[in-house]
């Protein structure tokens, strides 16, 4: 328990068009920890992930967030990504005309440059991307297609995991990665995530259902309702929620 926090959220208040969505969230994530954020629809759990990644649809009106000791809100979204924050989108965006490979290469180049690493040349990058594709059971042609264009729900989510693997973030935010996935696709995605777990990398897993947490086992579970964390606990809390539903908490 001595490690310095990777992420420290204090009394975070955020709103959309004057409506409060996050109403005083505090959360501390240390390196290597996996935190699950659970909650009913509309509780603000996706908002939390998006605010941390820098989406400007939300206005932060109170509180503070430090990431690696620095004020997160001083950073543009791309700077947060380069510093090691990764958001796996609930609804990955389709970008026709830009190949997945182009997109991944531009992304990895930007992040590696920031970290003082050498840019990967095209063949080395291709090789790396293909290896990750194989682990995620994605065909190599997948890299040539437009970003998420015509991908199935499962392919889109695995594409997010692929990006995460290539970008090697220190904090991954998984926004309802399980939504729209059947059990097989869920397992593949979860294996992809588990393969990236280590003592330095942290995860915040946002989910409505405990099902995902059978595969990605969290260290902590927080229940969000009405924009507040109403209960925190260990893994067993998720199981309790599964049994009793959210009304028990609210």
């Amino acid at each position: 328990m001595s490690a310095t926090p990777l992420l420290e959220v204090k009394d975070l208040v955020a709103e959309v068009d004057g409506k409060t969505i996050l109403d005083g969230i505090s959360l501390t994530v240390k390196p290597g920890e996996v935190h699950a954020i659970m909650g009913p629809n509309g509780s603000g759990k996706s908002t939390l992930a998006n605010v941390l990644a820098g989406r400007d649809d939300y206005q932060v009106v109170g509180g503070s967030v430090t990431f690696k000791g620095n004020d997160l809100f001083e950073l543009e979204p791309e700077e947060r990504a380069r510093e090691g924050i990764f958001l796996a989108f609930q609804y990955p965006v389709e970008i026709p005309g830009v190949s997945n490979m182009q997109f991944l290469k531009a992304s990895v180049d930007a992040v590696r440059k920031h970290r003082g690493q050498d840019e990967l040349d095209a063949p080395a990058f291709m090789k790396l991307a293909r290896e990750h594709c194989k682990e995620l059971k994605l065909k190599p042609e997948f890299l040539k297609r437009g970003v998420n264009e015509g991908f199935s729900g499962g392919e889109k989510k695995r594409n997010e995991i692929l990006q995460m693997a290539l970008l090697e973030p220190s904090l991954a935010l998984l926004d309802e990665t399980d939504s729209g996935l059947d059990i097989d696709a869920l397992q593949v995605a979860a294996e992809g995530v588990n393969a990236l777990r280590n003592e330095a990398r942290s995860f915040i897993v946002v989910t409505h259902y405990q099902r995902l947490l059978n595969y990605i086992v969290p260290d902590y579970v927080h229940v969000l309702a009405g924009g507040k964390i109403v209960k925190s606990g260990g893994r067993e809390l998720a199981l309790e929620l599964e049994e009793k539903g959210y009304s028990w908490i609210q």
């Binding site: 990644a53 820098g54 989406r55 400007d56 543009e76 979204p77 791309e78 947060r80 990504a81 380069r82 990764f86 958001l87 989108f89 990955p92 965006v93 970008i95 026709p96 005309g97 830009v98 190949s99 490979m101 182009q102 997109f103 290469k105 531009a106 992304s107 930007a110 992040v111 920031h114 095209a122 437009g146 990006q163 970008l167």
Partner: protein
């Protein structure tokens, strides 16, 4: 600057110095029609957003362009397209030294008007000038008023032309501003098929006005795939008429890429004359600097059970101006028509201007039609997706622009043409802020 009337006089004077093919009946008729027409002005509806200033400022019609060229430079510019039959025209003049199409020439499939035999002459006389209303297309009428030569592509019944036919039109820098004219007549008999690649390019800056015409007649169940690259230097003035007649069960598909220039005007007119014909028009146009490009599409659904899909994209930046006019006209008896037209545009500068006008005129009561136009900036959600992956906003914007254009280009039916288009796009983007070094990212 001369007046529109003086321009008309200039055109009529130019005919006195030119010979036409003596067996061709159309020029005399076209000259008579032309005499009764007025040069369009801003008050002419079809030319409302496209002033003819370059034609009034430059005495193009006073001189006929010559066809001299450095063969090596031309060859380099044309680029290799692999296994195709190729015909090259320099300032409208057929250039045998750069062309190779002997197989199709021997089979009578490709013939210059000047080499046409009696049967071919009859065909040309019967078909040329029948695909449009001459009064509505003054530059087509001008084109047909003096026909020094032309190209006939004739696919016999049930004949599948295996090799794609590449038509290259290069404009050059002439001693004086001058006029280049060219025309192509395509007749595809019943059940035949062919692929045509039209490549309009230039060897550097050019002081030519290129007035081009193509008429296509697809007989029952004939198929044609047509790719058009208009990637000339921005100094060019180019007016292009394409008139397509579709008989029963025929299938026409076009993929087009066009850059703006001093003046560029494309008229595409499609007439559905028989049941169950299909037409796809995919196009992307780009303009920058002070360029101008005008696309006028007209689909005449005059027969029942025909379908058309039209998707045009525009990329407009700097102080350039672009026009898109897409009209679908469903005639009263054209029941069960399904016609869809969409115009999507990126307007990237406050000084740029786009006038887009989809038009639907429906006189039948059992049809499925849709049309839409959007003029937008880049999508915020997409931009955030890029940024959340560490890509800075400027690069994200650039990549989205390129994707917008590339989405159309990657649908081209021919891989070598896609490659060529991408090279020209790289040149186009070379001085477009932030896009210059990205296009080659593969």
């Amino acid at each position: 600057m001369i007046t529109p009337n003086e321009l008309k006089q200039q055109a009529q004077n130019s005919w006195q110095h030119q010979s036409s093919l003596d067996w061709l009946s159309l020029p005399a008729k076209a000259r008579a029609t032309f005499a009764g027409l007025d040069i369009p002005t801003r008050k002419t509806e079809a030319w409302k957003y496209t002033p003819l200033t370059p034609l009034l400022n430059n005495a193009y019609l006073a001189n006929q362009a010559a066809g001299d060229v450095d063969a090596g430079a031309a060859e380099t510019r044309i680029g290799p397209l692999g296994d195709v039959s190729r015909l090259v025209f320099i300032n409208g003049h057929f250039t045998p030294g750069l062309s190779r199409f002997s197989d199709l020439e021997n089979q009578g499939i490709i013939t210059l008007f000047s080499n046409a035999n009696d049967t071919q002459r009859d065909l040309i006389n019967a078909e040329l000038g029948t695909g449009f209303e001459p009064k509505e297309h003054i530059f087509a009428t001008l084109n047909y008023s003096s026909v020094a030569d032309g190209l006939l592509i004739h696919a016999p019944a049930d004949f599948k032309v295996q090799q794609a036919i590449q038509l290259v039109y290069l404009s050059t820098a002439e001693a004086d501003t001058s006029l280049a004219q060219s025309r192509v007549l395509v007749c595809a008999e019943a059940g035949s098929s062919l692929e045509l690649i039209e490549q309009f390019d230039s060897l550097g800056a050019t002081n030519v006005f290129h007035n081009h015409m193509m008429e296509v007649s697809l007989h029952p169940n004939a198929r044609m795939v047509h790719t058009r690259l208009q990637v000339e230097h921005e100094s060019l003035t180019h007016i292009n008429g394409l008139h397509i007649k579709l008989a029963q069960g025929s299938h026409y598909e076009q993929h087009a890429l066009a850059f703006g220039s001093a003046l560029k005007r494309n008229d595409i007119n499609v007439s559905f004359n028989g049941n169950n014909a299909y037409c796809r028009l995919n196009g992307v146009f780009l303009s920058k600097h002070k360029q101008h490009i005008d696309n006028h599409l007209n689909l005449e659904h005059a027969a029942p059970h025909c379908n058309s899909d039209t998707e045009y994209k525009g990329f407009i930046t700097d102080s350039s101006r672009a026009v898109f006019n897409g009209r679908i006209h469903i005639h009263q008896h054209a029941q069960k028509t399904a016609a869809h037209l969409n115009s999507k545009n990126l307007l990237l500068s406050k000084q740029a201007e786009l006038d887009t006008k989809p038009e639907l005129e429906i006189y039948a009561d059992d049809v499925k039609c849709s049309h839409g136009a959007s003029i937008g900036k880049l999508d915020d959600k997409s931009l955030f997706y890029f940024q959340s992956r560490g890509i800075d906003r400027a690069t994200a914007e650039a990549m989205l622009c390129l994707g917008f254009v590339n989405e159309m280009v990657e649908q081209f039916p021919n891989g070598a043409v896609i490659e060529l288009a991408r090279q020209r796009l790289a040149e186009f983007f070379n001085d477009v802020d932030k896009l210059n070094n990205l296009w080659s990212l593969e």
